[in-house]
Symmetry: C2
C-alpha cells in the first residue's frame, strides 16, 4: 500500500518537504493542507510588491498549480487542520465549506509557520492595525497605499518592519518606525553596526524612534494614532511588526513537546519527540551551531533546508539537518546589511568571551569609479581564536561575504587563518586587500 | 646602527614589503629601487584607463610621493639594479644619469616582477608590437587609440589580453583575439566554463580565434598584419599578451636559486635559499595549497600578501606565507568570471581523481527583477570528497562566492558539508537555495 504523507502548511518549508518526499517515494500519497487561499509563495517577497519592485503579488507564487499536479501532490487550500491524533495517526481538517475530514498518515510534517504578534497594548482591538505575513496582508496594505495613505507608523524595527517601512517610503508615504529597544535590527546587528543602517534610513527620510514603547492605540473603531514614549503619532497606516511567534497550537494540543524557545522540539532528522511526526520551518526549533542551544530561527533559507530534510526522512530516506548559524541579509534603500553566527551581544548573553574587530573599507579599488563603503565586524572567541560571528553593512557585495564568513565559522576558521586567507580581486570588483582580511587584522592587533 | 633594508621593485609587492618593514622597524634605512619613472601604482588598473572607466593613468598611483615621505622610505626611481652580491651584501645600481652606486644591505627583498613575453615569431623584431605591463605601455596604447586606431589584434586570451581587448572594444576598435590553445582563459577556467565567457565576448563584437598560433608579423619596419592559422589579419594596433615570465635575471646572476617554475625559490618566510634575501610577487615561487607543488601565481593579491610577510621578516619580525589557491576574478563587459583552487584540467594534470558538478542558477529570487544568470562548477577530490576547486561565471556577485569557496577549500570543507551549509538570502540579493549549495548537490548525485 502506498505510504501516506501529510504536510500541514504549504509554503517554503511545506512545499520543499513535499517535493523531497516525492523524489524519495514515487508512489506515496502526499497531501498538503493549508488554511491559505494560495500555496507555494514567497513571504520574503511581500515587501517588494508593496515597494513596486515586483509588479504583482501573483509573481511571488514560486510553485504553481501545475507544479503540484506534476509532482502529484494533493493540495488542499483554504483547509484548516484542527487536530492531530498521534496515536491513531490522523489529522482532522475542515475545508471552507465547513466539511470535516479525518485523514490518516504514516508520516506527518508540521510546517505551521509563525504568526505576527501584537503585545497586549491598550486599544489593540481596534481596526486598521496591519501585519505582513500573508498575501492577503500584503494586498490590504497595498490597497491602503492605493487609497491614498500619506503616512505610516511601523511598530518594530526588525527585518519585516524595516523592509516594509522602506517600501512604504518608496511609495511616497511619510514613515515613522517605533522600536522599544535602543537600536534597530536588535536580533541581527550589534548597536554599532545598526547605527550605520539607521543613519541610512534617516537620510532617506524615515523617522526612527528607538527606546520608545507603543503605549496605546488611539482613535474610534479604527486606529488613527498611537502613543509612543509620550508622543502622539498620527498616521493613515499602522503596521504591527513587533515580531512573530511560532505557530505551535496544533502541535501542543496534540501533546507534541515544545522546547525552551517555545518552538516544536526536533532532532537532527527534524523529527519531533513523537515518532513519524516532523516539524520544520518557523514553528520548529533546531540547534545553533555555535552555542548548541535550541533556537527558532525563522528564516526562509532554514525553512527550505529543514523542509527538504524532513521530506527525505518522511519519504523513507535518511537526512540530517546540522543546525543554524542564522545567516541573514537585507537590502534597505542603497545599503545591504548581513549577519552570520553570533552578534557580540548574543555571544555575551551566551557567556562567551569574545574579541571583536571592525574595519571600514571600499567595495572596489580606490581608484575605480563608484566604489561603495563597506564595514565588517568580526566576533572572535577569545580562547580558541575562532571566528564565531560577523556583521557587514555596505553598498554592495555583502551577501556573499556573509556566506564566506559563514563557511569559515562552520569549518572552525581562526582569525589568524582568515588574516592569511587566499582571496580574489580585480579593480572593478574588490580591493586588493579584501576587507574581511583587514577586519581579521584588526582583531589580531587586539590579540597580540 | 640602523638596519639597512633594500627592496628592488616598487609596486604591489615591493611597496607592501617596505611598509611592513617600516611598521616593524621604525629606525631602519629602507630603500626602494625601481627602473620605472613611477612607483606604487596598480598594474591591474591599466586596462580600465584604456577603457576610460578611470580618467587617467595617474589615478592608478596608489602610493603617492607623500606616502613614501611619511613612511620615511627612500625611493630611487629610474634606477636599475644591475647586480647583487650576496657575500658582501651589496646591490649595485645605475641611475638615469648613468651614475653607479653600490648599496649595502642587511636584508634584501627582490620584487622584480615579471616581463611580458613574446615567443620567437618571424617578424617579432618589427616595431608596433605593444605589451601592457607598465604605465608607459598603457600610455602608448592609449595614444594609438587616440591617434585613430580602428582595429586591434590581441595575441593571447589570458586575463591581460581579454581585459585589454574589452577595453579596446569599448573604445570602438574592432578587436580580434588570437589564442593558440583551444579555449580562452586556459590558466583560469576549464573549457566548459570558458565557453560561456567566449560567447559573451563574441556577443559584444569581439572576434575570438582559438587554436590559432601567430605564425608571422607582416609589414615593413612596422607591423601592419599578422598571419595566424593561415589567415592574414590586418590591424592598426597589436598587443602581445602571450603571457609573462618571472623577471629573475638579477637573482639568477647573483646565484640565488630558482625553482622548477623558474621563479625564485622561497620558504614560508618568503626568504630565498640565500640568508637575508627575500623574494616576493611575480618573480617568486610559492607552494600551492592543494598540490603542495611550487607555483608562480603572479596575482596582485598574492604579491601584496607575500610583500607584507617578507617586509615583516626583513624588519626583524616573524611572519609566514601559507601558500596560494590562485583565487582570481575578472569583469569582461557584463560578465564576471572567477576561479579558486584547481581547475578540472589542472587537477587531472596533477594526477588527482575528481568528481565535478555544475549548476546554472540566478543571482536573485526568480520573481525579483534583473536577476542575472550564474553558473558554478565545483571540483571535488573523489576520495576525501573535499572541494579542491571552483569556477564561477555570472552577471554579478561572483567575487565573494569565489572567496567563500576559497575559505571552504582552505578549511577542508567536503562537498557534503557545503550541501548543508548555512547561507544568507533576501529576494533582491540571492536565491533561497544558494547556487553554491545546488552545485554541491550536483556533485553529490554523482557520488551516491
Amino acid at each position: 500500500m502506498a505510504k501516506r504523507i501529510i504536510i500541514i502548511g504549504a509554503n517554503a518549508a511545506g512545499v520543499e518537504a513535499a517535493s523531497a518526499a516525492r523524489k524519495k517515494d514515487h508512489t506515496a500519497e502526499i497531501t498538503l493542507i493549508t488554511e491559505e487561499k494560495t500555496a507555494g509563495y514567497s513571504r520574503c517577497g511581500l515587501p517588494f510588491v508593496i515597494g513596486e519592485q515586483i509588479p504583482s503579488f501573483k509573481d511571488l507564487i514560486v510553485y504553481s498549480q501545475a507544479y503540484f499536479q506534476m509532482m502529484k501532490l494533493n493540495l488542499k487550500t483554504e483547509t484548516k487542520a484542527t487536530a492531530i491524533n498521534t496515536k491513531d495517526k490522523t489529522v482532522t481538517a475542515v475545508d471552507k465549506t465547513g466539511a470535516t475530514d479525518t485523514l490518516q498518515y504514516d508520516s506527518l510534517v508540521i510546517a505551521t509557520g509563525a504568526n505576527a504578534f501584537t503585545p497586549p497594548i491598550k486599544g489593540s482591538e481596534k481596526q486598521g492595525i496591519h501585519s505582513l505575513r500573508t498575501l492577503e496582508d500584503g494586498e490590504r496594505i497595498l490597497q491602503a497605499v492605493q487609497n491614498g495613505a500619506k503616512s505610516a507608523v511601523v511598530m518594530g524595527a526588525g527585518l519585516i518592519g524595516l523592509e516594509t517601512g522602506v517600501a512604504l517610503t518608496e511609495r511616497g508615504l511619510k514613515v515613522t518606525v517605533v522600536e522599544m529597544l535602543p537600536q534597530i535590527l536588535p536580533q541581527m546587528l550589534d548597536a554599532d553596526m545598526a547605527k550605520l543602517v539607521q543613519e541610512h534610513l534617516q537620510e532617506h527620510g524615515m523617522r526612527i524612534l528607538t527606546e520608545k514603547a507603543v503605549e496605546e492605540f488611539l482613535g474610534g473603531d479604527k486606529v488613527t494614532a498611537i502613543m509612543a514614549g509620550g508622543e502622539k503619532i498620527e498616521a493613515d497606516l499602522f503596521l504591527s511588526a513587533f515580531g512573530v511567534r511560532a505557530n505551535t497550537k496544533l502541535a501542543a494540543e496534540a501533546g507534541i513537546p515544545l522546547g525552551e524557545t517555545r518552538g516544536i522540539k526536533t532532532n537532527a532528522r527534524m523529527e519531533t519527540e513523537v515518532k513519524d511526526v516532523y516539524a520544520v520551518g518557523d514553528c520548529a526549533e533546531t540547534p545553533h551551531l555555535i552555542t548548541h542551544k535550541p533556537v527558532c530561527q525563522q528564516l526562509g533559507t532554514v525553512a527550505v533546508k529543514q523542509g527538504k530534510v524532513a521530506g527525505i526522512n518522511a519519504g523513507g530516506g535518511y537526512a540530517l539537518f546540522p543546525g543554524v548559524l542564522g545567516s541573514a541579509v537585507t537590502r534597505l534603500f542603497n545599503i545591504e546589511a548581513g549577519v552570520t553566527g553570533l552578534t557580540e551581544a548574543a555571544a555575551k548573553r551566551a557567556g562567551i568571551e569574545v574579541i571583536t574587530g571592525a574595519i571600514s573599507s571600499k567595495t572596489r579599488a580606490d581608484y575605480y569609479p563608484n566604489a561603495l563603503p563597506i564595514k565588517i565586524k568580526l566576533i572572535v572567541e577569545k580562547e580558541s581564536q575562532r571566528i564565531i560571528g560577523a556583521q557587514i553593512v555596505g553598498g554592495e557585495e555583502v551577501t556573499q561575504r556573509i556566506n564566506a564568513l559563514s563557511f569559515a565559522i562552520q569549518k572552525g576558521m581562526t582569525v589568524r587563518e582568515l588574516a592569511k586567507a587566499d582571496t580574489a580581486y580585480a579593480p572593478p570588483l574588490n580591493e586588493t586587500w579584501e576587507p574581511m582580511i583587514l577586519a581579521a587584522e584588526m582583531v589580531l592587533m587586539k590579540l597580540r
